[in-house]
Amino acid sequence: MLKDYTESNTFKKLRDTSGRVPLIRQPVFLIASCVALVLYGSMLFWASGEGLVIRIALSVFVALLVTWTGIIITDERRGERLKTSMVFLVLAVLVLLFLEFHVTNSEEIIELFFNITVIKKAWPYLVLGFKTTISLAFMAALVSTVIGLTLAIFRSFDNKVLNFFIIAYVDFFRAIPIIVLLMLIYYGLPFLNIRLSAFASGVLGLGLNSGAYVSEIFRAGFLSVSKGQLEASRALGMTPWQTMQKVALPQAFKAVIPPLVGNYVASAKDTALCSSISIIELLKAGTAQQSLNANPSPLIFVTVLYLILFVPLTRLCGYIEKRMKKTQRQITV
């Protein structure tokens, strides 16, 4: 009975007083409703067409399906594997329904969205775009690290004048949308006779923006080492350099790395914004090829590429964060 968390109290009471499983949890009911649902569903597939009646029938079916899945899932006594396969089955049914009723020309779907020949044709451009994206991301990370570290170091001097300007910088770039910044740099600066290439504008915009965040991250890292510990190590006769190396940095490192990696990943995602200032990076390559071939496959492919690139990176961030949290040994006193 220890694992009985998932049932709400009312159900528990029901069961305790009647000594029975409630109706909707009984296998007979579940199987019966399942059969009914299957029948209903197959009828729907046969009767595919237009019209309000079909629409309503469809919505009712979806609602029933979701409720039924909900009942299964919230039942504590069913196995996890059953539930998981159930969820995916229902998902598959929903996708099928969607294709059946919402897509006008479903037979052409492969031709349209996963057209190998188009992708093959677009491939060299996409690779070029991918390379540009990667180099943009790296350059932006480099610039932002330099800016952020410098600002954080100057911030640590606790000088009012400098702090005012640094805070102004940080707030300014936290408040202004990157895309506006990019446009200002790319379209505005030439009027002042400052001519930057599109790539340089992109790096500058992303770097300036992400530098603001990086400086905050480093500052938090510096602050994460308590003053008492620095004093303790000085009192032990360690030189500032030794204190830095053995006491401050290992701890600051742990505080800094997870958000820093997260920030780099975010800034790498922001490279997609550079498509708006005519840098041929991955997204721009995708859209250009889409309009060239009048076929969305390149864009789909680009989306998949973004997923392949960033899902692992996002996961990595989460993993690092979790790990660091686990090893971070915080004592407040």
Binding site: A175, P177, I194, L283
Partner: protein
């Protein structure tokens, strides 16, 4: 003071050699080096006369030396405060001066192109119409993504593995796709599926999907700050799952979540600017149209100013809230 140095103590305590920093920090040395730096700055080669490489080499050496000089003073606690203030001012003004002198910008054109008042006057009302679109869009998307995020976080906290698998997939996918890609796909690809979303709906959907994922993570982190021990304690007192959530978890999670949520709101408002890509007539789009119509970057500047006017207060607010949360310490 007549001191009887015990010679062995002297030996034990004395340095092998006095560190360079001791001499460097003497005022006389600092003054001389300051004079040298200024002389160097005055005689910096002109970019027109020397090779670009040589010029930039000189410039970066100058900046590096300047920064080092300032750091030496700023990092020294024994220097009085007003000296540090002066040094800070000096550093900033030197940097500004160098930028003014050597950035190659044509400053005479600054006012004419960037703050052209006649053009400004003509563009405000267009821009404000754009702003209202931006604000309405972001508020709508914000509420819907909070709804989505809260729903997901609560469902996830019940720990149904199968559902959590789906949720994790959703969150991972939409946190990984840049918003702009999402918008482009929704706007340019979905019509091939026979689904036509107009530009407003595209923006709304993209922002909701993407920020729904972020918000879900925010709420989850908020719910997770409440230790499992507390949840167990509440459960052992006989509170139900819902009661625990309502009475124990949420009240503690809210103060942690609010600043992050406001941060999300800011990020989202910034991302509405991306909607200009899919032809939503919001602030940036209006500014760009004016920019092309009048061939002047002034409207872009105005748009930036409007964005700042709206978002800077929010940023300050988030700063303030974060500081307060940090000050009140961990919640237990």
């Amino acid at each position: 003071m007549a001191t009887s140095y015990s010679s062995d103590a002297l030996q034990r305590f004395s340095r092998k050699h006095i560190p360079l920093l001791y001499y460097i920090r003497k005022p006389i040395f600092l003054l001389i080096s300051l004079a040298l730096i200024i002389v160097y700055a005055c005689f910096l080669p002109n970019p027109q006369e020397t090779s670009a490489f040589f010029f930039y080499l000189n410039l970066s050496v100058l900046i590096a030396v300047l920064v080092c000089w300032c750091v030496i003073i700023l990092a020294d606690w024994e220097k009085p405060e007003y000296v540090k203030m002066l040094v800070a001012f000096f550093l900033l003004s030197m940097l500004a001066l160098l930028f003014y002198r050597f950035s190659g910008a044509d400053w005479a054109r600054l006012i004419h192109f960037f703050f052209n008042f006649p053009i400004m006057k003509g563009s405000w009302h267009v821009l404000f119409r754009g702003l209202s679109t931006t604000v309405i869009l972001s508020i709508c998307s914000f509420f819907s993504c909070v709804f989505v995020g809260l729903l997901i976080a609560i469902v996830r906290s019940f720990k149904y593995h199968s559902v959590n698998l789906l949720i994790t997939m959703y969150v991972d996918i939409f946190r990984s796709i840049p918003v702009i890609v999402l918008m482009v796909v929704l706007f340019f690809v979905f019509p091939f599926l026979g689904m036509y979303l107009n530009s407003y709906l595209t923006t709304f959907t993209a922002l909701t999907l993407s920020y729904g994922a972020y918000t879900a993570e925010t709420f989850r982190a908020g719910l997770e700050t409440v230790s499992s021990g507390q949840v167990e304690a509440a459960r052992s007192l006989g509170l139900s799952r819902w009661q625990t959530l309502r009475k124990i978890t949420i009240p503690q999670a809210v103060p942690i979540v609010i600043p992050v949520l406001t941060g999300n709101m800011i990020a989202m408002m910034k991302d509405t600017a991306i909607a200009s890509i899919v032809a939503t007539p919001e602030l940036l789009k209006s500014a760009r149209e004016l920019y092309t119509a009048k061939t002047s970057p002034t409207p872009l500047i105005c748009a930036a100013i409007i964005f700042l006017a709206v978002l800077l207060p929010l940023v300050r607010l988030v700063n303030h809230m974060e500081r307060r949360v940090n000050k009140s310490g961990p919640h237990y």
